[in-house]
């Protein structure tokens, strides 16, 4: 039994040096078992190659690495295969998008999925496309949702057994969010879970009137999967409209929640809502990290979640039971202690108003789509955090199909500069074991490795390697472009461990000579 578990775990954690899911493994760890680069030689890390894209949009992709090839998604919805030791292009898939595709925050894509010889990309016009890994030829192309209704897709798909699971974007346009699964071979839809209930369904009572129709709760960052429990864990985004909640009084299920979903049927097993009735756009679209760990003297299956709302959560992922919630970044919107069920108690005068209400954190939150990392070695949860206040305003909350549905806006708190930190959070306490301060918040995610290192890029593109147990800076390289992407690690055909990340419009791959 034990041997069996070990065997399956080794496949999932990519011992081979491949990087096969958005987060490296299905459990969301963004942790590499590779040890060639370690604390003793990281100072010698150098760029092995770089690869430039020919687009000006933000380059947010986290590549997939398999058998000597990196599969990289480019903005807006293209895929390029490059040799992973040289950066030379093998093939390109260029998608012609219709005019007027909707997008909220740039024509971006955060990565592809892989199963066997197929590469999958979720596109800005809300299609799912399967490509042949050897040629880039289209194997199939299915419509997931109607882009004319402001649906789009930006997240990397999650591969779960023989299915491709894809999320939705469009939460700033009053769409109805979903998570959908498709057969890897045929593209046939296997199931779809709507993240906002329809009239009469359970949860619809948490929306005033017919406001659920524009409820959003999109799923625009990749979730995680536990093969043992055959359950998918996926975070949902803000309720629509973002900054004025009058028309949607109630908790607004299942926005800003973690959903546990049966991988075969798509049925929801449980949910946990972090921010009931959100009016600050604090999407719970962070990657849930699945670990088995001692909790109060008992081994438990946990889901760890560093939320945009500035609280750090530990849940039992079998039952959804709330185990712990701790503030981990400055916040002024809720009492410092969550209640026994993990529900926040809002402080007065924190809702957006016509003249503006100052609140910490700002709308981009304590963390956002920056991928977190969990090291099997240190058992710490590494999070890219932001510290910034915002002023939130309400606006017109009339819904127009296919248009922005925001009902307000936010600005950074005047006279202050946002800062950030890479935090090494101990899941047992929610407290930082160490923090590496940043003069500006970064949109880069974090990678940890068995070599005892934590990698991340600063806002303006300095790639950093930190000691995983102390946070001490061991190496850095100025890449020269703003980083919006997440680092990965893989073994290339040259037999070397590489660290790759996109900065500006360039993908860098580092190795030690």
């Amino acid at each position: 039994m034990k041997a069996l578990i070990l065997f399956s775990a080794s496949i999932l954690t990519a011992q081979t040096g491949d990087w096969l899911q958005f987060q490296g493994n299905a459990q969301g760890h963004r942790y590499s078992e590779l040890t060639q680069i370690d604390k003793s030689n990281v100072a010698k890390l150098k760029p092995a190659w770089s690869f430039q894209i020919d687009k000006l949009d933000k380059f947010e992709a986290s590549p997939i690495a398999k058998d000597g090839i990196l599969y990289v998604s480019e903005p807006p919805s293209d895929v390029t295969a490059v040799e992973s030791h040289s950066g030379k292009v093998l093939w390109r898939y260029k998608r012609v998008l219709p005019d007027n595709v909707p997008f909220c925050c740039g024509k971006v894509n955060r990565g592809v999925g892989i199963h066997g010889n197929s590469i999958f990309i979720s596109t800005l016009d809300a299609h799912l496309v399967a490509l042949d890994a050897a040629s880039g030829n289209v194997l199939w192309d299915v419509t997931v949702a109607d882009y004319k209704k402001a649906y789009s897709s930006t997240a990397a798909p999650l591969i779960v057994k023989d299915k491709v699971v894809v999320g939705s974007a469009g939460g700033e346009f009053g769409v109805r969010g979903y998570l959908a699964a498709f057969d890897v071979k045929t593209g046939k839809e296997a199931w779809r879970l709507w993240t906002v209930p329809a009239a009469g369904e359970k949860g619809a009572e948490t929306w005033k009137g017919d406001s659920y129709k524009y409820g959003s709760a999109t799923t625009w960052v990749t979730g995680s999967y536990d093969p043992g429990l055959n359950t998918i864990y996926w975070g949902t985004g803000n309720p629509g409209p973002d900054w004025k909640g009058d028309k949607r009084e109630g908790d607004n299920l299942y926005s800003d929640s973690l959903l546990a979903i049966d991988a075969d049927t798509g049925k929801m097993k449980w949910y946990f809502q972090f921010t009931p009735h959100d009016v600050h756009d604090w999407d719970a679209t962070q990657v849930p990290i699945l670990v088995d760990q001692m909790w109060n003297g008992k081994m438990r299956k946990l889901a760890l979640f560093a939320n945009r709302n500035a609280f750090y959560y530990v849940l039992d992922r079998e039952t959804g039971e709330y185990l712990m919630g701790k503030q981990y970044v400055r916040q002024t919107w809720a009492k410092g202690e969550l209640d026994a069920k993990g529900r926040p108690t809002r402080l007065p005068n924190t809702f957006p108003t016509a003249n503006g209400t100052a609140v910490y954190p700002n709308s981009p939150g304590a963390t956002n789509f920056q991928a977190p990392s969990y090291s099997a070695k240190t058992k710490l949860h590494y999070v890219m955090t932001r510290d910034e206040g915002g002023v939130f305003y309400t606006g017109d909350d009339t819904y127009h199909e296919g248009s922005w549905y925001l009902a307000g806006r936010f600005v950074s708190k005047p006279g202050e500069e946002a800062t950030g930190a890479i935090k090494a959070i101990d899941p047992a306490t929610g407290k930082s074991k160490w923090e590496y301060p940043l003069s500006a918040p970064s949109w880069s995610g974090v990678l940890s490795t068995a070599g005892g290192l934590v990698f991340a890029a600063t806002a303006d593109g300095d790639m950093l390697a930190l000691d995983d147990s102390t946070g001490k800076l061991l190496w850095r390289y100025p890449m020269g472009g703003r980083a919006f992407a997440n680092p990965i690690s893989y073994t290339a055909a040259d037999g070397k461990q590489h660290i790759a990340i996109a900065s500006g419009h360039t993908l860098f791959s580092f190795s030690v000579d």
Partner: protein, 251 residues
């Protein structure tokens, strides 16, 4: 072929050169609604969002209404300015009209005398010590060669009498205390985790490693430009605003 027909059409109905955004009350009010739905997310009320300031009589990317509607329809490639989504042609025209009205909210004709204002600028105001116009002047404030095309007269006036109320981004004054040697003061050119670069009053650039400093303070709410409230009389101020408003580009 298609293209020829199109051009022919444009000329015959005269839409190309003469497209002009509506300014009647009903259109402006409809445009305001559209602006709040589609634009306020980034542009705020026009001049207080995180994206470009639209409260200006002359928009750099949109010298004509045709260009403005085109920006609204297509976005600005390579920036976060997105193409319009779910807007009809009429709504785009209305929102363009509303954007123009933002730039017009202050009187476009100015009371003062630009020639006299130039003298104030060069003489009593001492503005050229910090600002450049047409390649001549100082480097401790923004180049003002095009300022009349970017700011309304009201905004210019406020810049002079209450600089802290109209802080232009990118001109933060910083004070750095190195471990050895005297304090360095200047405009911050760049800052990251490891270094801070600044330009001092004499135009010298300092590149300082943060681990070689004991303190760094940043004037985030305070302009290094002095207020001229009470230092210039009403006439001088009017003339100076007229001069600045006349600055529209290459000299």
């Amino acid at each position: 072929m298609m293209r020829l027909i199109l051009i022919g059409l444009m000329f015959s109905v005269g839409v190309w050169a003469q497209l002009s955004a509506p300014s009647d009350k009903a259109s402006l009010s409809a445009g305001k609604t559209q602006f709040e739905i589609h634009c306020a997310f980034c542009h705020g009320r026009g001049d207080d969002g995180f994206a470009a300031n639209l409260v200006s009589p002359n928009l750099v990317h949109a010298p004509t209404d045709t260009a403005l509607v085109s920006i609204i329809r297509n976005g600005i490639l390579g920036t976060d300015m997105p193409p319009a989504l779910g807007m009809t042609e009429e709504q785009m025209m209305q929102v363009a009209g509303y954007v123009r009205s933002l730039g017009r909210s202050a009187p476009i004709t100015v009371a003062g005398d630009a020639a006299k204002g130039k003298a104030v600028y060069q003489g009593k105001g001492g503005c050229g010590g910090c600002h450049m116009v047409g390649g001549a002047g100082g480097k401790m404030g923004p180049d003002l060669t095009q300022i009349g095309a970017m700011r309304s007269p009201a905004n210019l006036r406020t810049s002079i009498v209450d600089p802290n109320a109209t802080l232009a981004g990118g001109w933060t004054m910083v004070h750095v205390t190195p471990k050895t040697g005297a304090q360095v003061n200047g405009i911050r050119l760049s800052e990251d985790n490891f270094r801070i670069n600044l330009r001092d009053g004499r135009g010298r650039i300092h590149s300082i490693a943060k681990d070689q400093t004991t303190a760094i303070t940043r004037d985030l709410t305070k302009s290094s430009m002095p207020s001229y409230q009470g230092r210039l009389n009403a006439k001088e101020l009017d003339d100076l605003v007229a001069y600045l408003f006349s600055l529209r580009g290459a000299m």
